[in-house]
Subunit: 152 residues, 2 copies
DNA sequence: ACGGGTTGTGCATTTTTATGCACCATTCGC
DNA sequence: GCGAATGGTGCATAAAAATGCACAACCCGT
């Protein structure tokens, strides 16, 4: 049995995949998830979709609105991940996250709420977030977590 | 092979049934439709739902929004039927339709658009429509058509 | 009147989705 | 440390939905 974390990470990936392109069959979703490192069968996917409140249209699966998604996952990032455009390092202590215009505040709030130990602090403008870390090693761990959370 | 009219009448009934209560299986819809006089099998229902753009949620079928429904049926009444509360005769030449507040105009427009020969004219207030007919026989035919169109 | 084309439908089957059951890992209480 | 409870998962299968095919009815052009 895997951990809750694996399940939540998979469900976050499902949401992202469904936003990205139409998926018409659960087996197709199994294949796409496998490509991302999530080994899972159709029966678990069926349960995930039901618990996420996803709808089935003849042309593909449709996500419920963001409020419902947020309520049904334990992932702070699932509803803001879509606004993240780019994650890059600047030197050894600053990590920069670019978002869509106007969304930096929401994304920064989600990062703060995650309470990552390695984050010394964050500051956000309109479409840019600076994340400060103590050193390059901490920066590297934060980068990994950002990439996992936002799927970039 | 039945006529287009039968198909459209059945699809209007499907929309009304799905608004009324949750339906989780196509076979259940077959049964509900049969109760209303529509003899049809699961395979035709599957096609109807696809062509109406209906979505499947784990707790039941979900209608797309009204604009999409209107575009996918040939029925003027399908989107306004839900606002009709009561249909009664007043004497032998007037039929009164009660609607939700503010909706009488939309419902009256749909009746006008239907172009029923027996309708001499209509007048609508905020939540009430008067439909004039030449005589009791014409009134009876209009009543039948109203009941069929609005499912009351 | 006839033939061809189109469309709706049901039957039977295929495909897809949901679920019962068993197993395993983790957590918690004693 | 151990046993019980809980929860996630896959396997196999049941249930549900989608679809290929054949047929029939209607419409239209000749």
């Amino acid at each position: 049995m895997l951990t809750d974390h694996h399940r939540e990470a998979r469900r976050t990936a499902i949401v992202r995949l469904l936003r990205h392109a139409p998926v018409r069959r659960q087996q197709e979703l199994v294949r796409l998830l496998k490509r991302e490192g999530h080994a899972v069968t159709q029966s678990s996917i069926s349960r995930d979709l039901r618990e996420l409140g996803v709808l089935k249209h003849s042309e593909g699966y449709v996500l419920p609105d963001n409020a419902e998604i947020a309520a049904r996952t334990q992932d702070n990032f699932v509803t803001v991940a879509q606004f993240v455009r780019e994650v890059r390092t600047a030197g050894t202590s600053i990590t920069v996250v670019k978002t869509t215009i106007g969304s930096a505040g929401s994304v920064a709030a989600a990062i703060d709420k995650a309470g990552w130990q390695d984050v010394v602090g964050t500051v956000s403008g309109d479409d840019t977030i600076f994340i400060a870390t103590a050193d390059a090693r901490a920066q590297s761990r934060v980068l990994d977590q950002l990439r996992e959370s936002f799927g970039v």
